[in-house]
């Protein structure tokens, strides 16, 4: 069953067609990786799904409910958490205040949603470095620590679907591996569903179940991650590794 179903989605910015009749189905309890070069439309896809950008055509269905054009503010209550491009840390607030904002989103969620991170303490246990610095302003964190903060903040809202926009951006390979492994572990252990957008195809496919390749706003390939990883022709023509 799919948690998220994107059908025929088209998003334009004036004359620019960022998404062109995109179809993506995100299966429950899986990681779906959307891959593509700069300007492929990956960020536009996530921004359209979370209502920040209104599509010109197409539908987005979350858990069987049509959410196309619904306000962004309502997405958290519907079970969607979006970690935006550039991470979206609120730099002037403390680490704990950022986390509290995430936890606030859980208030309207059904209490029986399985969630790996329910309390601030859970978050600090998952990422001890955040606990040690809880009262420091978030702009003092390193890139990797910021990524941990926004993932923890998103999880505190008890989502069923997590949207991640290029979590690897600007991070050392070791940190990328650490964060990706964590995402995979969360999915395995808690039934979380993830829509991961990445340029770093190799790392993304190492944890994903399904890969979707986007090129100039169009879906060119949808395959299981295994097939994509092992098919040299596909890799060379679309993923550059």
């Amino acid at each position: 069953m799919s948690v998220l179903e994107i059908k025929n989605l088209t998003t334009t910015y004036g004359p620019v067609k960022a998404l062109d009749s995109v179809d993506v189905a995100v299966e429950t309890g899986q990681i779906t990786a959307v891959l593509g070069a700069n300007g492929a439309g990956k960020t536009s896809l996530l921004r359209t799904v979370s209502g920040l950008v209104k599509p010109t055509a197409g539908t987005i269905t979350l858990d069987g409910t049509d959410i196309t054009g619904k306000p962004t503010e309502s997405m958290v209550h519907r079970g969607m958490a979006h970690v935006p491009e550039g991470r979206g840390v609120i730099a002037e607030l403390t680490i704990e205040e950022n986390l509290r904002l995430g936890m606030r989103g859980a208030a309207k969620r059904p209490t029986d949603t399985p969630a790996p991170v329910r309390t601030l303490d859970d978050a600090y246990q998952l990422f001890p470095v955040l606990g040690d610095r809880r009262n420091a302003q978030a702009h003092t964190l390193s890139g990797g620590e910021r990524q941990m903060l926004v993932i923890a903040r998103a999880l505190l809202a008890r989502p069923t679907l997590l949207l991640l926009d290029e979590p690897s951006l600007g991070l050392a390979p070791r940190i990328v591996a650490q964060i990706f492994n964590l995402v995979r572990a969360l999915v395995n252990d808690s039934g979380l569903t993830v829509l991961l957008v990445e340029q770093n195809a190799r790392s993304a496919l190492s944890i994903a179940h399904t890969g979707v390749v986007l090129n100039l706003g169009k879906v060119v390939v949808t395959e299981s991650a295994e097939v994509l990883q092992n098919d040299a022709t596909l890799r060379h023509s679309y993923l550059g590794f």
């Binding site: 730099a91 904002l101 702009h139 903040r153």
Partner: protein, 292 residues
């Protein structure tokens, strides 16, 4: 010595009212980047509402709270009816709209309440205290003014630092889009911000009137000094507004007490220019952190 102490006391009392008005401006600016030129007119109008209540035999306190409620509602209504529809267009449109409101509300007050001087009594005395043979420029009214602004500042601090509502207001001010992603109803908070600013502006309007006279343009010098204080403080910092107000009040009082009352405005501008030369963003601007 007596003269110096009194100049200082005067400055603090003046400064604290300037601070309250600057706070109102900052409340709106930090969340919307809009300078609300109508803030002073809104405050003036609610002071007339308070006066009307008192003239109908309501006690000062009831009139005071009535004006605060009116200020809150007027702020919310203006945001919804005038400002909201202009959003997304040119920023200049909103600036012009608030300037228009400034004039329109003043004209409306003159029509409704008349443009003559009306006395606005104080709930406490206006006679200076005497310590030994020192005649202090400190009156029960000025203590009342200082305490009231103190309550407002403490109240706002608690609201922003200790409550969930305050946290979401700060988040929305710093990053509206991320706040929306996190489920914060940013547009509701903008209305609430205007309402809160209206309330705080009303406090300043009433305090400067208390024990004195009002007429439709009685807020004019407070408006000018409030703007200067807000800019000195960095325009988006509540602490900056309070510090800026106090600095300005004391400088004004020193200039008026030791040089000439006519030089007060010039003195205020000298302080403004000096601060902006040393710290172009104002004393407490948070824009630095944002750029990191």
């Amino acid at each position: 010595m007596q003269h110096f102490i009194n100049v200082l006391l005067n400055g603090i009392t003046q400064g604290i009212v300037i601070a309250a008005f600057a706070l109102a401006l900052v409340l709106i600016f930090r969340s919307t980047r809009i300078v609300n030129f109508a803030q002073g007119s809104q405050a003036m109008f609610t002071t007339y509402i308070a006066l009307t209540l008192m003239n109908n035999d309501f006690p000062y306190w009831v009139a005071f709270l009535g004006a605060l409620a009116a200020g809150f509602i007027i702020g919310a209504v203006l945001e919804r009816v005038v400002i909201r529809p202009l959003e997304g267009g040119m920023e200049l449109n909103i600036v012009i709209a608030t300037l228009g409101l400034y004039v329109a509300i003043q004209a409306l007050a003159a029509i409704l309440f008349g443009s003559d001087y009306k006395s606005f009594s104080s709930p406490v005395g206006v006679q200076g205290f005497q310590v030994g043979d020192l005649n202090l420029a400190l009156t029960p009214t000025s203590i009342f003014v200082i305490c009231t602004v103190g309550v407002v500042v403490v109240g706002l601090t608690l609201l922003f630092q200790k409550t969930q509502l305050g946290l979401t207001m700060r988040a929305a001010a710093f990053d509206g889009e991320v706040s929306r992603i996190l489920g914060v109803r940013v547009s509701h908070l903008l209305t609430f911000g205007w309402a809160l600013a209206g309330l705080v502006g009303s406090v300043a309007g009433i305090l400067v009137a208390t024990g004195s006279f009002i007429y439709p343009s009685y807020m004019e010098s407070l408006i000018a000094f409030g703007f200067i204080a807000a800019v000195i403080g960095g325009l988006d910092s509540p602490i900056g507004a309070v510090v800026g107000g106090l600095i300005l009040g004391i400088v004004n009082s020193l200039v008026s007490g030791y040089l000439a009352p006519g030089l007060v405005t010039i003195g205020a501008f000298v302080v403004l220019i000096a601060v902006l030369l040393l710290k172009p963003g104002g004393l407490f601007s948070s824009t630095q952190a944002r750029r990191v």
